[in-house]
Amino acid sequence: MTEIEKEIKITGNERPKIGVYICHCGVNIGGVVSVPDLVEYAKKLPNVEVAQEYKFFCSDVGQKMIKEDIEAGKVNRVVVAACSPRMHEPTFRIACKEAGLNQFLFEMANIREHSTWVHMKEPDGAYETAKDHIRMAVAKARELVPLEVQKVKVEPSCLIIGGGIAGMNSALDLATEGYKVYLVEKTATIGGHMAQLDKTFPTMDCSSCILTPKMSEVSREKNIELLTYSEVVEVTGYIGNFDVTILKKPHYVDQEKCTGCGICVDYCPVVVGNEFDLGLATRKAIYIPFPQAVPGQYTIDMDHCIKCGICARQDVCEPEAIVYDDEPEEIKIKVGTIIVATGWDLYDPTELKQYGYGKYPNVITGLQMERLLSSFGPVIGKPVRPSDLKEPHSIAFLQCVGSRNFREGGNQYCSRVCCMYATKQARQYKEKHPDADVYIFYMDIRAFGKGYEEFYESAGRNYGINYMRGRIAEVTEDDDHNIIIRAEDTLLQQPIELSVDLFVLSCGLEPRADADIITSLLRIQRSADGFFLEAHPKLRPVDTLTEGIFIAGVAQGPKDIPDAVAQAKGAASSAAALMAQGEVEIEPFFAVVHAERCIGCGMCVENCAYGAIELVDDKRFGTVAKINEALCKGCGACSGNCRCSAIDIKGFTGEQIYSIITGRV
């Protein structure tokens, strides 16, 4: 942003001198209506001093034309009739500013999207509406007053919600750059779902081997305050100045005293299902989620603890770290930016009764298969089938479970990673059991990333994995709990009925079940597929529509680890760009109360979704409304509802709007 050296002073005594610049926009406008005629029309409007046309006003040459008129004193209000303000309002505002004119003395008339593009086949009608738009813009321009952008400070700290691979990468990047990072994680350890994976495609890197060093780095990094087993409960404020309240859940184990020795686990009498192993193994009521958890301190699951007191005995817990009466703690922090990296849930295939998940023991999900393959999982990396704990001689994978489903309530999107993770799992199993029959039933194989197609080719050629093109219709079970699969080999147009020992459902990724909590806390949106909405699908993939809040990882949409890391770095970079500037400009379009007209009824206070209005005592006028400009978003709800016309939105005042309406008619 260039700094202006000169500024033209506009006072109330000066008459508005409006310059109207009508753009051809190539043939988009010029090919439908007669721009020279529009120019003649504009010249006749009151207060219009200059009217010009050009092929592309957004170009350097075009902008120069406008600037020259300003600098020569010919105009002190600028109207550009061209495309949508969403395209070029910033361009022309800057041009005005560079020429010395307050950037808010500029108004745009959209005669492309609102006229020539929608009435391409009716040029006469387009011409009439174009005239209307220009006349309205000129009417508004007449009433414009100079406004100043607000500058607010940006706190050099960032809140990252979610401690998975994306959250951790953002945290490390920002911390290295010197910013303070609060990394809040709901569970008792960072690492996320990646910690549950055994190997990662296509390199077959051991997931823990590449993840745990990052986890250690995060815990060592001084600029990162790691808040595990914690949740964000309140967020107020605005870009650069968010006030966040975090609830630290009670571990019932003193995190300073606990040495992570694990002796208490041997003594605890309560055995429950292990969430990390997805029900395939057990844990005790006192636990850490998995051996390499960071932090390495223990937690008591109070929902199942029977308070027998054994772990608290001195001969069990030497450091005396057990605290049965632990309380949750609330902390309040102030941050400048927020990154949401909350990850995903696996699709639950129980509702697909034709696949028997939950009914037949030998039907498992892809993530459960991952735990079976894991070297620190329930079977130490030697998968067995649940019914008899024998190693399966035949396995079938089914792709697109819970994804690409256009039925009522189904997830329509493709989950992106399942083709690759099934190929990976199949390959892992074949490596140890070359004689096993491994089938992957698919509709399409999506191997789009770097090294992915090569990985897929090798799976067929080197490992002999049978790719069957046909989505499985239904399965049944025989007396030995083998799974009988019915599908069509579509490439042979042949129905098949196969019996396999183990059936793996390659389930897709879904948005977190509690994503609604995040959307209401931060007031960010979700797209139709349920993941968080980016500001622009192509050009702003890590921003949200709320300034200062960014998204990264699968929270924004299904993706593999390389893409999640890339996005995390992108979000960190965007957050850093904001924090590096130290301050940010806010458009001055917020509400202002004319206290003399306000009767203090309080309706605006109730209407404000952002809590930006309060009633105060004014010496002259009694109880009146007062706007907190920092919180005001300029939505206009207060202004529209005010019975006394006592509130205006700067840049869209009652007079300006009335002028447009009368100008229209």
Binding site: R407, R469, P495
Partner: protein, 200 residues
Amino acid sequence: MSDNVEKYIKRKVYKSTSSRIAQKFVDAGLEKLRACINCGTCTGGCPSGRRTAYRTRSAIRKALTGDESVLQDIDIWLCSTCYYCYERCPRNIPVTDMIIKLRNIAVEEGYILDSHFGLANNIFYATGHGVPANGEGNKRWRDLRESYGLPPLPPTVHSYPEAVKECQDLMKEVGFRELMDNAARLKEERAKKEDENKEE
């Protein structure tokens, strides 16, 4: 020499596709047909497909590419309309309704089995019932009804001849009569042509 030509030379290469059949679906509001990605779920669970040559997915594909054989072969008439394909299609295509529509188009073009034609023309149109109990040949069924304490003819169209006329009038108005006559005519023409070809 020419036996081998007969046996091995097929020259079956499709030169183009035709949207003639698909367009009829679109016009009838059944454009969902075009969302098919050939995943095979329909055929995979089809109880007919695993005992006949009927392939649900192929029938839909033939409709989409305009392969006329789908209207002429018996395969689409071996679908028992169990609706599993309709329920399980991931693209939410009402598959069974597509097969029914294909049958409609086949009948329009005169492709209807003799047994079905007889059922439609001589039984349904004539009596108003698909499985009648009137007439000499069905006396034993009327006697059976009486043995269970029921009147020999049920209070349906069988007992109300004016109701039979109502049905027939409706069928004339809505085009069923014409459809049957047209089918009969087309079948006859085809049979004649086949006889002529055989004589050659």
